[in-house]
């Protein structure tokens, strides 16, 4: 069993909250959503690259959670279940819309309030570049690197969520980081 599974205490969701949600108490379900919304929405945002799609994915994820409350084998597995469903939904969205081609970079405006505007601009630019680069990765690599580097999960946890072996996930993460590096290098060199 993975170490990252939430216990009822550290999740702040006592069994009573889950039980109330199962009985149709929407306030209780709202509390459960608040506990997991950052995890779900941030994962969706990184996997899909824009807030609108990420919100749609998060909405679908929580609706599936509501439908599956009675079927979840263990309430303590809710966190990994949510990751798995979020990744699956985002992969579906990606397949539906096709791989989005990297748009030509139109650099953001420099941040004048930053002590070093050039550096601040570079950071914002890099964030955008990395976000674009993510969308060019195969779905397995994208999910692996997002769960590992954005959500901070261990390789073992990522492997469990994605249903792969640790060796496979480690390789996917390594390859994905290399591709991100090449992508950002290409744009940053052009700029220079």
């Amino acid at each position: 069993m993975a170490d990252f599974r939430l216990t009822a205490d550290d999740a702040g969701q006592p069994a009573g909250l889950i039980a109330r949600a199962k009985l149709g108490d929407l306030d209780a379900f709202d509390q459960i959503m608040r506990l997991h919304e950052k995890q779900v929405l941030m994962t969706g945002l990184r996997l899909l690259g824009n807030m609108e799609d990420a919100q749609d994915a998060a909405q679908e994820t929580f609706l599936r959670l509501y439908k599956s409350l009675n079927r979840l084998p263990d309430v303590l597995e809710m966190k990994s279940w949510l990751y798995r469903v979020t990744v699956n939904i985002c992969n579906d969205v990606h397949r539906q819309r096709g791989r989005r081609k990297a748009e030509p970079l139109t650099g953001p405006e420099p941040v004048s309030s930053h002590p070093d505007p050039e550096k601040a601009w570079s950071e914002v630019e890099r964030e955008r570049l990395v976000e674009m680069a993510l969308q060019t990765l195969p779905e397995k690599e994208r999910a692996a690197v997002v769960l590992r580097d954005v959500q901070g999960l261990s390789t073992r946890e990522v492997a469990e969520i994605l249903g792969s072996s640790e060796v496979t996930v480690r390789s996917q993460i390594s390859v994905a980081r290399g591709k991100l590096k090449k992508f950002t290098d290409r744009y940053l060199r052009k700029r220079l």
């Binding site: 950071e123 570049l129 993460i173 980081r177 590096k181 290098d185």
Partner: protein
């Protein structure tokens, strides 16, 4: 190992001592490791406005409420349909109780004739010193109901108790 091999070690988050030693001496791989780390930091630099969370929760709760309402509407529709069906059934039963169906016509016979069975005709008895008499047809009793049968009386009852149809038929089924 060349730098390309070390780069793979870097992206794989190797914690080997050899990699650390190589990073101390190789500026190219140090830059590579720094870039990878900056990319990771850029990935984590996600700031989501609280209203985005609120919007998702609101949409989810509205969707659940709407589904509940749709479910309730269907439940009420089903109850209403069942009630209509029950009322319809009750009306049919009441109507049939009030106007019972006409009784089936009774067929009765008066003095049903007794059918006497005649023995099967045996082979003609032939005696040498008597003349042979040929009989054509079965040998039956000379007198009896078969020769002079009483007619069958078929009485048919109708809805009107004052009207009875009486039908006389012979043994062969012909009307008289």
């Amino acid at each position: 190992m060349n730098c390309s091999d070390w780069e793979q070690e870097i992206t794989a988050e190797s914690e080997s001592v050899a990699l650390e030693e190589h990073l101390r001496t190789c500026g190219h791989c140090r830059d590579f490791a720094g870039e990878v780390e900056r990319n990771r930091a850029a990935l984590q630099a996600v700031e989501i406005h609280p209203t985005a969370f609120d919007a998702v929760r609101l949409r989810v709760l509205n969707e659940i409420r709407a589904k509940k309402q749709r479910g309730a509407w269907w439940a009420w529709s089903a109850v209403a349909a069942a009630a209509c069906f029950a009322i319809l059934c009750a009306a049919v039963v009441f109507q049939s109780w009030k106007n019972p169906a006409p009784p089936k016509p009774l067929i009765a016979t008066k003095n049903p004739p007794k059918i006497e069975r005649t023995p099967a005709p045996g082979p003609p008895v032939m005696r040498a010193h008597h003349r042979v008499h040929h009989h054509f047809g079965p040998v039956t009793a000379s007198a009896g109901p078969a020769h002079n049968p009483e007619p069958l009386v078929v009485k048919m009852l109708t809805n009107d108790p004052d009207v009875i149809i009486i039908w006389l038929v012979d043994q062969k089924g012909d009307s008289l």
